[in-house]
Symmetry: C2
Subunit: 218 residues, 2 copies
């Protein structure tokens, strides 16, 4: 087996990765610029996604790149239905706030990417005890893409207020495929300094000590 020690990164390079992580944001429709993404940028986004880790090297991801307006309009309709239903779950004062939020950029972003999980038809190494690791592999690909988008100064938003079955039908997805994410991508006029829901005081950042345990739960 070939075994070089592999590339060593410097402290400065690790710090740069931290910068990219800290400056990544969820971009919504009010921040996208109209022009299409350059092909070389789309290519870099996909390269990042396709080099994510996957359980048993199964690479169980599929990407549908959508630019067609009619398709995006149909997806937007599913968003509108789901969003109206979801709003009702909040308390009354939150419902008003919720209705004012811009939560997607399906029509404003020049590129939408639907990301599906496709399960293997044979046993996958490492997936027997935790079936969800197939889905988790797809999420790793999405997070790679998100960080690469930020490094390329491209905005990306993850729309989860959708009926995944309806979106599958719109895209003619095979019945076994499962929608993991619907992404909106495009150049943007900028990135907020903090998560938008933090700025709007919808949620607070949790204290680190509330999320860390040592050796075991008390």
């Amino acid at each position: 087996m070939q075994y070089p020690n592999g590339k060593l990164f410097t402290e400065e390079e690790a710090t740069l990765l931290q910068e990219i992580i800290l400056h990544r944001r969820d971009t919504r429709g009010n921040r996208f610029l109209g022009m299409p993404l350059e092909e070389r940028h789309v290519d870099q986004l996909l390269t990042a996604a396709l080099h994510a880790p996957s359980v048993g090297f199964s690479q169980p991801w599929e990407f549908v790149l959508i630019r067609d307006k009619n398709t995006r309009q149909q997806v937007k309709e599913s968003f509108s239905e789901e969003s109206a239903a979801a709003g009702n779950a909040f308390t009354e004062d939150r419902q008003q706030e919720y209705s004012r939020l811009k939560l997607e950029g399906i029509l404003e972003a020049p590129l939408n990417i639907a990301v599906f999980y496709r399960s293997s038809d044979k046993p996958v190494l490492g997936q027997a005890s935790m079936k969800e690791t197939g889905l988790y592999s797809v999420v790793c690909a999405i997070q790679n893409m998100w960080l690469m988008a930020r490094a390329l100064n491209i905005g990306m938003g993850w729309v989860s207020i959708l009926d995944p079955v309806k979106v599958g039908h719109i895209l003619n997805a095979p019945s076994g495929n499962q929608l993991v994410a619907y992404l909106c991508l495009g150049y943007t006029d900028g990135f907020y300094t903090q998560p938008e829901l933090e700025i709007l005081q919808w949620e607070k950042r949790r204290q680190r000590s509330a999320m860390l345990w040592y050796e075991r739960y008390p």
Copy 2:
């Protein structure tokens, strides 16, 4: 709302992120060195995780840092049970190959981190139509940590051959918490140039054209 345009990254910086992504590997027990991780490195790993995106800014993640050998021994026992059962699913020639693979580093890595999902007790913005997005947020945190580990030249392995309920009991996790990942972390003697399962010809890298669709599935 404060709104500066945000930091702009250069092409060279995006290329560096691509390098980190391409050089990330799953590290197993045969590659870990014994010495403990420096606290500042553990801190950088957690900072990366805690700045991942999360649905509705819910930050639904909890991390248990484990160094105790007795605890790790108990987790290792769950691995051994699950691995023996999983091996039987493969064809006969693969079973032999499978039994020779080193698939975890629970005892060799100086630090184990169990990552749990803890669901919110109130409605989460964006989670009503796709409940799994809570789990997906936790996976984004793990992938951030994995890339940061690589940039710090720290090996990380994700062990999924475990009974998540047993591991929860070992760690005294609240019954509502769900184990998403069990990670092994430590300094390493190097990183393979390709995924180990690719080098060993267990799986091939899939062709890009088999994973990409335009506008919709045919």
